[in-house]
């Protein structure tokens, strides 16, 4: 609003742009209001969570959600970190996602490379087998998946969770990377072949570096996707002693239920803040790559 008030007199002095600005400025004003409101709706709940994490229950039930807390005390945070085990859940998530993303990238790029650049019987069939997984949502075959993991003795183990993450990430990874490997030029590859480079060497020393941008995009895609998984860990990490192996999403959902029973909200808000803050920091540093990496999948 203040923006408009400052701008207009300056424009009025020259008649021709004034005519133009009369058409544009109401739209611009409206644009700013609409954009600002959505930014508020996006950031509002997150700011509210952070503020509430410092409040005690009385303050939370008072209403006035955006009032500053009376005192800033970090005891809710130490409670969330150690007593509600957020630290443990966080480390579990980091561990599982680190290994399974690395595994997905290695196995996915190997399969995609062979399927994209080698002719052999069954090539198309295997490619379509991988890609068909994209059409069917994960929850559909939940019961049999549980049975398979159980019969392999992998229920409630990190190994089981990691293998399942990799298996369910392969569809999109192979689909995306096969398209990517196909677009890479054949000349360099052939030159290396003439120079006597073997299949393995050409893959690791020539194709992988050339495919770097595609690999980075799909790595970001997989990290975000696996970090945010909820359904698969809920199915696989159950049984005796499962709670020490929960990932972050499971842990926070459980704290939320517990908080509901005991009407003890501030620990929940602290736990939420602890899980949101690292994302904000990572996003602030890599926001351009993250936006590009996540949207690349939708454009290709």
């Amino acid at each position: 609003m203040t923006n408009l008030a400052v701008k207009e007199p300056a424009v009025v002095s020259t008649p021709k742009p004034a005519e133009k600005s009369r058409k544009v400025s109401p739209l611009n004003g409206m644009a700013h209001v609409a954009l600002f409101l959505w930014a508020l709706a996006t950031a509002g709940p997150l700011i509210w969570v952070v503020l509430a994490s410092f409040k005690n229950n009385t303050e939370i039930f008072l209403g006035k959600p955006f009032a500053l807390p009376e005192t800033f005390s970090f005891t809710t945070y130490t409670d969330a970190w150690s007593e509600a085990h957020i630290g443990q859940y966080f480390l579990n998530s980091v561990f599982v996602v680190a290994i399974s993303t690395a595994g997905t990238m290695l196995l996915g790029s190997m399969a995609a490379y062979v399927l994209a650049r080698y002719k052999f019987p069954g090539n198309r069939a295997i490619y379509y087998l991988f890609v068909s997984g994209l059409a069917f949502p994960t929850f559909m075959a939940l019961a049999p998946l549980f049975g398979i993991v159980q019969s392999l003795g992998l229920l409630n183990t990190f190994t089981g969770l990691i293998l399942v993450y990799i298996a369910y990430s392969l569809s999109f990874t192979v689909f995306f990377l096969a398209a990517f490997f196909k677009t890479l030029p054949h000349e360099i590859d052939e030159a290396a072949l003439v120079d006597g480079a073997g299949h393995l060497r050409r893959f690791f020393q020539i194709m992988m570096p050339m495919a770097k941008s595609g690999l980075i995009s799909i790595t970001i895609f997989n990290i975000v996707g696996q970090w945010n998984q909820y359904l698969l860990p809920v199915v696989i990490m159950q049984g005796a002693g499962a709670d020490s192996k929960w990932v972050l999403t499971q842990g926070i959902a459980n704290i939320s239920t517990q908080a509901g029973y005991h009407a003890e909200w501030s620990t929940l808000f602290a736990a939420l803040t602890l899980s949101i803050l690292p994302m904000i920091v990572v996003y602030a540093i890599f926001q351009r790559q993250i936006q590009a990496g996540l949207t690349a999948g939708a454009v290709k």
């Binding site: 644009a31 700013h32 996006t42 209403g63 062979v114 399927l115 049999p144 549980f146 945010n228 949207t295």
Partner: protein, 297 residues
């Protein structure tokens, strides 16, 4: 030259293919087998023919859940795409040379952020945002004298709350996606049309929208997949896993409840089989429709 080609191919394919066959293909194949059994989820089972499917047909909760899935499947993409197009248009309306509207970079960063949060965490946050007393964010913002809204505890509004959260999380992603699409449209086209006297609204409907059509189709498919599986939201936000009174019940929740709480994993598999064919039909129809579009164009 061909030396070692097949050992190499096999070596590179065997592990990824084995994992995929065991955990993904294996699960889908077993789903068909188990749908014909009374498997509880643990131990053995016996074949009971098509009994599960008969039960499914007579199960009112299945039809309620299916209706809710259709509601989300239709409304979530429409609302998300409409809002995202609107904001993307506003962000880019300043023209490419001006770098879009003032502050457009900041808006893009803020809008996109929810996409990075796990849906489960978003669900926990909004469970509290929609809290039905003063401790909830929205009720806390309302004047003290008002009776608090029940939101998730109200049968009439609970599903709409879930829809709002799905949209809240998704919009930013599509703002960025559509902005990228709009940015790649040549400035000259707009300038030429503007010289002919086209208004901003005309420009949007006659130039931006048709040139963005491919991206919109991709967005529709992605949003459909996201809306179809609202498990995290329903499991965490709703009263009693799909309540109150099944007013937020969806098919993913039904599969989960039957497999892991009611010890009816065979029945849950039958649900999966029905969904499998529904999805297949839907995919075939979509392909058919889009192919006809391509011929017409």
């Amino acid at each position: 030259m061909r030396h070692g080609k097949y050992p190499f191919i096999i070596g590179f394919l065997v592990v990824p293919l084995a994992l995929y066959l065991v955990f993904v293909v294996g699960a889908y194949l077993q789903m068909f087998q188990l749908s014909l059994t009374d498997w509880s989820g643990y131990g053995g089972f016996s074949y009971i023919g098509l009994e599960n499917f008969q039960k499914l047909w007579d199960d009112p909760v299945f039809w309620v859940a299916l209706r809710h899935n259709l509601y989300l499947l239709i409304l979530m993409p429409i609302v998300t795409i409409a809002l995202a197009l609107f904001f993307a248009f506003l962000l880019n309306s300043g023209g490419k040379k001006a770098g879009g509207v003032w502050g457009s970079k900041v808006y893009r960063v803020i809008f996109f952020f929810p996409q990075l949060l796990a849906l489960a965490i978003v669900a926990v946050i909004f469970g509290r945002v929609f809290g039905s007393d003063k401790s909830g964010m929205i009720n806390g913002l309302l004047p003290q004298s008002w009776t608090p809204w029940l939101f998730l505890a109200d049968e009439r509004w609970a599903l709409t709350c879930i829809l709002v959260v799905l949209v809240w999380q998704a919009v930013g992603f599509y703002v960025v996606l559509f902005s990228a699409g709009m940015g790649s449209i040549a400035e000259e086209i707009y300038e030429a049309a503007a010289l002919d006297g086209a208004t901003k609204i005309t420009l949007f409907f006659r130039i931006t929208l048709p040139l963005l059509w491919d991206t919109l189709q991709v967005a529709w498919v992605y949003l459909g997949i996201a809306a179809f599986d609202a498990f995290a939201l329903v499991n965490i936000m709703s009263v009693n896993h799909g309540g109150p009174n099944n007013s937020t019940q969806v098919l993913s929740m039904q599969i989960y409840l039957n497999a892991f709480q009611n010890s009816q994993a065979g029945y849950a598999s039958a649900l999966g089989v029905v969904l499998f064919f529904l999805t297949l039909t839907f995919a075939a129809l979509t392909l058919r429709v889009t192919r006809r579009d391509a011929v017409q164009a």
